[in-house]
Amino acid sequence: MMQPTDNPYLLIIILLVGAVAFAVTPLALAWLWAKKFSPRKPGRDKNAIYECGLESKGDAWVQFKAEYYLYAIIFLIFDVETIFLLPFAAAFNGLGAGAFVAMVVFLLLLAEGLAWAWQKGVLTWR
């Protein structure tokens, strides 16, 4: 008679079959049970894609205008301006004439950028 230890792979195969059966049997039983006791009854609502209660409508392939990126860039002007204006205002009383002039030049540079963009017609939404 052949012992299980004769071929070392025999044990592995037995364990493998046991493991697969352990996983597949409950699934197969559930499938059989469902076949008998919860028959498939598809319908319009049941097959609907979304589960929020609302019906989906319209097209998913909607295009968005990419032009708003110009607004985002111009927003940066004011963004950076605010960051530098706050310490400027906080230290305003102790500032020398040179620092004041430097700050005004900086502000004018930014304002010039805005004026340039405005003049190019970027602020008009098409």
């Binding site: 006791f37 319009r44 609502d45 589960e51 929020c52």
Partner: protein, 203 residues
């Protein structure tokens, strides 16, 4: 199997059961509600599921965010006419066997807002309700009681015969008609297959 013999054997320590009993025992102890609240009653429903009242004792703490995984819909709160089609649609998307608890005065009848032009006078006009709970809002104990009532109902549900659940009847439709939000009211105003009110007694 004779019931008397079964209980006699149980006294002797022999436990006998049927597939039906086992199935219902499993089902009644793992009712997953739909995470779905409409108004103030939902706060009581949430309280019921938290530590103090602990709905988890009944195997029902798993509030599912998707109707496709839920067994129970707790209609907790005022159902407005704008919301009613969505409620029915969600109910349609739940897999059978499914159950409904109408929680609170609003869900069962319109409650204090019954005279309102935009309030549905009870969700049982469109979907079959298994347990009604009165109260405004019902306390968590009332919801637990409704839950236990539902568990008893599930326990007694046969898998065959005339009293078998709807989804095992071959010809029965799987979905309930969803009302449309019409110009003056929901159209139709009720589902006659579900809602057959007794005629009002007039003196």
């Amino acid at each position: 199997m004779d019931e008397g013999l079964k209980s006699e054997l149980r006294k002797q320590g022999v436990f006998l059961t049927s597939f039906e009993e086992l199935y219902n025992w499993g089902r009644k102890n793992s009712i997953w509600p739909l995470g779905f609240g409409l108004a103030c009653c939902a706060i009581e429903m949430i309280a019921t599921s938290m530590a103090r009242w602990d709905l988890a004792r009944f195997g029902a703490e798993v509030f599912r965010p998707s109707p496709r995984q839920a067994d129970l819909m707790i209609v907790a709160g005022t159902v407005t006419k704008k919301m009613a089609p969505q409620v029915v649609r969600l109910y349609n998307q739940m897999p059978e066997p499914k159950y409904v608890i109408a929680m609170g005065a609003c869900a069962i009848s319109g409650g204090p807002f019954k005279q309102g032009y935009n309030v549905l006078k009870g969700i049982d006009r469109y979907i079959p309700v298994d347990v009604h709970i009165p109260g405004c809002p019902p306390r968590p104990e009332a919801l637990l009681h409704a839950f236990m009532t539902l568990q008893r109902k599930i326990d007694e549900q046969p898998l065959s015969g005339a009293a078998r659940p709807r989804h095992l009847v071959a010809g029965a439709p799987s979905e309930f008609p969803v009302p449309e939000f019409g110009e003056h009211d929901l159209e139709p105003a009720s589902n006659p297959a579900v809602w057959q009110p007794p005629a009002p007694a007039r003196a």
